[in-house]
Symmetry: C2
């Protein structure tokens, strides 16, 4: 018997690796030593066994169902995270451009990193001049597309900066595939895969554990990778081998399966989206009603439901107050609220696994903190 | 409370993902929901948190202690498995050769795969003509080294073919770094890291779960990667960021820490080596005393302690008997004994976590099976 103790009380607002639903962890703990009647842990299971093949097929089926992935797309289970994809995308898709270039929409630090990595492989055309700090997505009229681009790249939700596309961008050239990094908002809102040529996501935010990267790619984009593409990042090689080109992260795939079952049981992505809008409103409302005590720099048109960066004590933040804010939150068992070092201040990450009740605890704390410290501003 | 049930009775002879020590799984299960007093699971822990930094530093320290890694080597925690390293090694080390070539010793299917992948990046000189089937390592006099090779590559233990180097190969040109894939025999026997420029291992055989790749690299080899090297496979980029260039597989690192503690508590690599020799002898002795009923094709000089491939019913195997052998073993709760499809027959993988008692169960079964079926041969 294992003592699991009482229900956990810590509220984890971390940006990733992030909270995993309680029910998922409970189930994984229960079958940690033995998966179904196999006599072994999933951790010890051959990736070529029928049992693991079943887990992988079921994971793909659940993902296809919950994301409404059309049949002309393949689902790949890879390693290397989003950063691995920053290289894999240009290496695999460069063939689409006769001039060897690609379009990048830089709306935050992750798309900026992706554009930098892509420069190793092709000419990067930034479709607009990135604004710094990253607080707004320029209007479509300002985007300068390249008709010969291999693809148009964007990050659907910037985890560090809290900038989220409410819709995929409209393209000028419809033969150019759209590529999206959806690592930090996958299955947090309805998302039209069919508008894209390729989307990818690390699983450590909304889909379970670190170590697994999901790539959803249109079949016609497979099979033309540059010769220097490592096999582990070659979509076609991995697809041919049904994502067991080499040993996949079996346990991370299993956890993603459990999270997808949890999403299904919660009513799917539409129900989660309603919940996520309510959750983020709980925080944004306190910020916007605070008469400047709290300040979120992100434009109303592109505020993220998943990651909310804000300052305490005015536009530029009061570092003493921000320290007190974090310490006070930790005393109340709310952790990982520190903003990314490039942005400063506070960041509340409200992934699917964070409940409305937990979010309300933070918003109540924010109100009380303001009452106590507004005079110190 | 979680019901863990009685002690598990299944014996897992799988080649990887493979058996994890019972004590490790028990401990991981106990602290699955909450690591120490953090209130959260390791699965949910930020890779930039002090708690995870502590886990990573302790993992590196244990690895350095148990492998006696000299100070001039860096330890990196990467993703992508051995197959990722098949590309990363040439991309990072090609600079060492003015002619752009590297030496490969092909002694089995994994070094063959590594050589194939390297051809994307440089000229591959096979230091001897690979023999097929892979059953022997040619003597040193037959190795033809290239003075301008970027490195000399070998696989210390061929998981599929059961061919293991008893010592690192002696090189002719001592300025050429030696590179070893030690995925399937890491910490199963004493190993002199200092004789190498770089060694790497996936952790899913002797060090825990799939999803983590450990690279041990001499400092002077860092910083000269080819321009097309993806950052996630660039040793220098990862070293600069202390292996958190991007989100590492936090849970796999934690499990490796637990396995390293278990290795230390078992008396370290020298004690495990004695145990592993005894274990493999239990199987090889039955094979060699069977008057040809069992047949292991690997030369006595290079038989593996970790992976023992053998046929049942003569040199070429009797497929009916081999099927019965596997079915009979499964009835006795011994699983994953089927040989790799490229070799056929049976393979018993006897990694560190497989006990002498478990190995004895297999050798006793082999004797009984022979008595029952020798006439059918």
């Amino acid at each position: 018997m294992v003592h699991t103790g009482k229900k956990r009380t810590v509220v984890n607002f971390g940006p990733g690796p992030a909270k995993i639903p309680e029910e998922v962890l409970q189930k994984a703990q229960t079958e940690f030593l033995e998966y179904e009647h196999t006599g072994i842990s999933v951790l010890e299971m051959s990736h070529r066994s029928p049992e693991f093949d079943g887990i992988m097929k079921e994971t793909e089926k659940l993902l296809r169902d919950e994301m409404s992935i059309p049949n002309e797309f393949e689902v790949l289970f890879l390693q290397g995270g989003g950063s691995g994809q920053f290289a894999a995308v240009p290496m695999n898709l460069k063939f689409k451009s006769s001039s060897g270039s690609a379009d990048y929409a830089v709306t935050g630090s992750w798309s900026a990193k992706a554009a930098d990595e892509a420069k190793r492989y092709l000419d990067v055309n930034k479709v607009f001049t990135p604004m710094k700090p990253y607080t707004k997505i320029p209007e479509k009229s300002q985007w300068k597309f390249n008709a010969d681009a291999a693809y148009v790249y964007y990050c659907a939700n910037e985890t560090v900066d809290g900038v989220e596309f409410q819709q995929p961008p409209e393209l000028k050239y419809h033969n150019v595939p759209l590529v999206a990094d959806i690592s930090s908002n996958i299955l947090s809102r309805p998302f039209d895969v069919a508008k894209h040529g390729l989307v990818f996501a690390g699983t450590q935010k909304n889909l379970g554990a670190a170590g697994l990267t999901i790539v959803i790619v249109r079949k016609d984009l497979l099979g033309h990778a540059e010769s220097y593409t490592p096999s582990v990042l070659n979509y076609h090689e991995n697809h041919k081998m049904n994502s067991v080109y080499n040993t996949p992260p079996v346990y991370s795939i299993y956890l993603t399966k459990l999270v997808l079952e949890w999403i299904r049981d919660k009513g799917g992505v539409h129900a989660l989206y309603e919940r996520n809008k309510n959750k983020s409103a709980l925080i944004y409302d306190v910020v916007d009603d605070s008469q400047g005590f709290y300040y979120c720099p992100v434009d109303l048109s592109c505020r993220s439901n998943m990651n909310i960066p804000f300052r305490v004590g005015g536009r530029d933040g009061n570092s003493d107050l921000e320290k007190k804010f974090i310490q006070g939150a930790e005393k109340l068992d709310m952790i990982s609220l520190k903003g990314h070092r490039s942005v400063g201040g506070i960041r509340a990450s409200l992934y699917n696994a964070v409940s409305e009740e937990e979010t309300r605890k933070l918003s109540e704390y924010m109100k009380e903190f303001m009452v106590t410290f507004k005079t110190e501003e």
